[in-house]
Amino acid sequence: MEEKDSYIVYTVIVASCIFFIVALFIFFYIRLFIERKKRFAEEKINMQQAFSQMLLQSQIETQEETIAQLGKELHDNVGQLLSSTKMLLGITERAIDNPPETLLTAEETISKAINELRNLSKSLSKEWLQQFDLIENLQAEIIRLNSSKIINIHFSHPEKLVIDKDRQMILFRILQESIQNTLKHADAKNIFIDFLFTKNSLQIVFKDDGKGFDTAAKANGIGIMNIKHRIKLLNGSIEWLSSSTNGTIINIGLPLNKPSNEEGNHRIS
């Protein structure tokens, strides 16, 4: 009897051991499976992020290509037409003993147009992008715009920006587009652009004193989407605050050095 009892006890122990081992095995296997799934999902997200980053970058590159092409076309074709006109005016002027003031003014005006066009197409060219300096170029752009007397842009900035050239270029395009938006839509007299540095970020405040716009209605407009795309490429943040009384304020934040999140790995360089 005792022998039988001990046999049963023995069997139960062995059975529970086997059961326990199987349970443990299943438990570990499930955990491994879940972990693998999680890792796979993470990888997928990373890959998607890398892909969208690459897509954005190639979009920007295509845009730059188009812009450079446009600049060249403008210069080559419109420039030639203006030059021909200027030459014809010059020939006419020489053929007349006392050329009228109107003719001389026309010549002067067309010379100005040619110079404007030349500067414009230079600022769109690719060579110009390779030795790009945001502050220098923004200043030149501002001088050009301020001299038109349509707007007064106040720009306060550091001496030098230590950011990759292509990041500077993207930032420049964002600011350029913002200025154009103000010029086209805001009826503003002044624009204030401030560059502020915090511990590890660059904050840019762009402010105009125009009539503002409905940020909700324009949130998916091409212009704003374009700027958002560019900001995303820089791993930055942007917000528009606008009211009819206070004009429009754009706050841009850009991480300096390594951004804290994973996306820093896809930083363009």
Binding site: G79, S84, L88
Partner: protein, 162 residues
Amino acid sequence: MKKATIGLVDDHQLFLKSLVLMLESFKNYEVVIEALNGKDLQEKLTAKTIVPDIMLIDVSMPVMNGIETAQWLSTNYPAMKLVALSMNNDEYAVIAMLKAGCCAYLLKDAHPNELENALKEIIEKGFYNSDASNINFRKLLANQVNEKPLLNEKEKEFLGLA
């Protein structure tokens, strides 16, 4: 005085037409060849017996550009005076055209008075320096000096050993 003969190469027909009108108004010049690009010019030059004294060359042209055209002309017609006439005042274009054998670089939007003066000087002295107008040669030369040396350190070392 015998009229100086001039050839023109430019892909912009309207500009070419204005240029002919301008040169005719100067009285002392006769336009003998008009071509739309370097290749077109090569064909017209070989077909004609007349070789112009001066050739005005645009820089950016399709098929065969101004730089290639100037190089070809300097090799095949060394006596011909080559003059670059362009919209473009960027340093690369100016240097490339002068290196290719042009004795002057003029901008298309220069006043006819300046162009007339330039042609006169080119015929008399053989060159024209348009420093006073639009192109800053000093800046060009300063930039030239800054160009990278042709050989890097490794290559120099190699040559030293060879």
